[in-house]
């Protein structure tokens, strides 16, 4: 499924935006201007942008936890001002400041994160079941290689394949879970090999290539909407930074080597996408400069919105009123 020039431009723009947002979050947590953790997505923002930019409005989107779903949020058109306000505990936060970094955006059919990695393997079955009943929507279920250690992952694949549910299992495989490496934690290097046991079509792609990701996910989405059932897309990606800002960057107990990290940086998806859009004359350098300028301005605007919003400190009575539907 070849991409048109306009589609490539949109992907490029969303990638640059997502990259700026991720760097904004890293800066802010270093400055003490974020609540909770931040798990940086530096060097791995292409997968989320590519997977989410061309989904339908009715599709359900579960973002990957890394970068707190920013690549997916940027691709989906989530209001990043309200996203950041939530991460700073403000009244304009998308969940009224209650979720810390486990944000949701139900109006965009992003139903929220949990602190339990792999939690989404449970509701994804129902998202798929409901999507099949409705017939005009599918589920993009993103998660990392680490989450496939959860037993629920296998239940989800079993149910999805059994019932031919319209789900794309989209795995961002960066080869690491906190300090553990995939070679220590999984018997096979490709997580998608798990899908074979369920007879689920699976493909491994370069998760650093935002265009390849978008093409593959669009094809998988078409497969799902045609009633052909789930597919597994494994996007090989990388992790330039530590698991979360503030913890040491280790592989097992050893620091990752500087030379190795320098090599990884050559695979930065923004670098790769820029050379491609220039080489294929999709964008000029001048247009790229404008995209960067706009992204910078959007970051400023987003930060101002969140910083200007008052801290959310509702009374206990107001909070109690929100526990149950009256």
């Amino acid at each position: 499924m070849a991409l048109g020039k306009e589609q490539m431009k949109l992907l490029y723009r969303n990638l640059v935006r997502a990259d700026h947002f991720d760097k904004m979050m890293m800066n802010r947590i270093m400055q003490g201007k974020l609540i909770g953790f931040y798990h940086p997505g530096d060097g791995a923002m292409a997968a989320g942008v590519g997977a989410s930019t061309f989904l339908g409005d009715d599709d359900i989107l579960n973002p990957h936890h890394r970068a707190h779903g920013l690549g997916y949020a940027a691709g989906r058109g989530v209001d990043i001002g309200r996203y950041l306000a939530e991460h700073t505990g403000k009244v304009d936060g998308c969940c009224g400041g209650r979720s810390s970094f486990h944000w949701s955006f139900p109006e965009k059919k992003m139903y929220g994160a949990s602190g339990f990695i792999g939690w989404h393997f449970c509701p994804v079955v129902g998202w798929g079941w409901a999507s099949k009943r409705k017939g005009n929507q599918m589920v993009l279920m993103a998660s990392g290689d680490g989450s496939y250690g959860q037993g629920g992952a296998h239940e989800a694949m079993l149910f999805a394949m059994n019932w031919k549910l319209p789900i794309v299992f989209f795995c961002e495989n960066n080869g690491m879970a906190i300090h553990s490496t995939i070679s220590d934690m999984h018997p096979m290097p490709d997580i998608s090999s798990l899908a074979q046991g369920y007879g689920m079509p699976a493909v491994v792609i370069d998760g650093q290539d935002v265009f390849a990701v978008a093409e593959t996910v669009m094809a998988a989405r078409k497969h799902a909407l045609a009633g052909k059932g789930p597919t597994f897309v494994e996007a090989k990606t990388l992790r330039l930074r530590e698991h979360d800002v503030g913890t040491p960057d280790l592989a097992r107990a050893e620091p990752r080597e500087a030379a190795y990290l320098e090599e990884l940086k050559k695979r930065d998806p923004v670098v790769l996408a820029t050379s491609r859009v220039l080489a294929e004359k999709v964008l000029t350098q001048k247009q790229i400069d404008k995209i960067y300028k706009d992204a910078k301005a959007e970051v400023e605007q987003v930060e101002k919105f969140a910083d200007d919003s008052p801290v959310a400190q509702p009374s206990i009575e107001e909070l109690l009123a929100g526990v149950y539907v009256a």
Partner: protein, 323 residues
């Protein structure tokens, strides 16, 4: 006046399922072997509603529960049947950490209208996991309602209330009440959740009990008739808990015994006792007594009848507070 028809409790539950599924297309059931009907309460439903709405799953509680949990986010009103309520522990994480708390944590934007159900209870010698009453574990977490019926009438009305409720509701029923017969009107009706019921009026002691223990409470009240006048209150819901009805009864009796088929510590009996001391200390003429399972796993074999609450233990507690 025509007599109200009598049904066993399981048939009352099934009638609630049937009538609500006929009324509302978004209601469906998911569970293991519910099409075949391992218990009579789902038997025959698949013939009427098909496998799209009576959904059997593999033996995988996370996936099974997830079918309901995710569909509820998408506007369906699922009933997820764990067969035995204790099996909910295989999906405790999404129930307690997410389903119950999601609405609040995510800014009270979403509702999760779903019913989580299963049978339980001592007396059948099925071993601790099948027997385990899990109402207190669930009721500990805000955001989910928890109830258990004692009579066929309440079973139908509370199940209909649970299905229509926009919150997640854990509806637990006791195996010892499964075939109990009682009057059940044919038309759909609602027994509101969070409202206790004075099932038998009395003046000397307030005896709180429900499910199978409601029957034991009745046995004790009969035994003591003419000697001690027992008022039996069925809380019906554990969360929200209707403490006002209990306090009102205590204005008359001044004495309280709470039966709870659960461990003594941190049980609903403990919660009721704490709330009564908090709000009704001056109403009490005697210490509160709890009749519960002692703090040990429920043994199987021949030990259930004397380890679980039973008429003798309840009678002893009632006599104790009435000395």
């Amino acid at each position: 006046m025509s007599e109200v028809r009598e049904l066993p409790l399981v048939e009352a539950i099934k009638e609630a399922y049937r009538q609500e599924m006929e009324r509302d297309e978004s209601v469906f059931m998911v569970g293991q072997d519910i099409a075949g009907g391992i218990f009579p309460h789902t038997k025959g439903l698949v013939e009427q509603f098909g496998t799209d709405r009576i959904v059997d799953t593999p033996l995988a509680e996370l996936g099974m529960y997830g079918t309901a949990f995710g569909a509820a986010m998408e506007g369906f009103r699922p009933i997820v049947d764990f067969m035995f309520a204790g099996f909910f522990l295989n999906a405790a994480s999404p129930i307690l950490a997410q389903t119950a708390q999601f609405r609040f944590i995510h800014g009270s934007q979403m509702s999760l209208p779903m019913v989580i159900t299963g049978a339980c209870g001592a007396g059948m010698r099925l071993g601790n996991e099948h027997a385990m009453l899990v109402h207190n574990m669930i009721a500990q977490v805000p955001g989910i309602k928890v109830c258990m019926p004692s009579t066929p009438y309440d079973a139908k009305g509370m199940m209909i209330a649970a299905i229509r409720d926009d919150n997640p509701v854990a509806f637990i029923w006791h195996l010892g009440t499964m075939m109990d017969r009682g009057p059940v009107p044919e038309e759909p009706y609602v027994v509101p959740l969070g409202v206790a019921d004075v099932k038998r009026e009395g003046s000397d002691v307030t005896l709180v009990a429900n499910g199978f223990q409601y029957k034991n409470a009745g046995i004790v009240a009969d035994r003591l008739a003419g000697e001690i006048s027992v008022e039996i209150i069925d809380p019906r819901s554990f969360s929200p808990l209707d403490i006002d009805t209990i306090l009102k009864s205590l204005e008359k009796t001044g004495r309280l015994v709470v039966v709870d088929e659960s461990w003594e510590s941190r049980s609903t009996a403990s919660e009721i006792a704490a709330q009564v001391v908090d709000r009704g200390f001056d109403l009490l003429d005697a210490p509160i007594r709890r009749v519960t399972i002692p703090n040990m796993p429920l043994p199987g074999g021949h030990m259930e009848p004397y380890v679980a609450p039973n008429p003798d233990a309840i009678e002893a507690a009632v006599r104790d507070v009435c000395r």
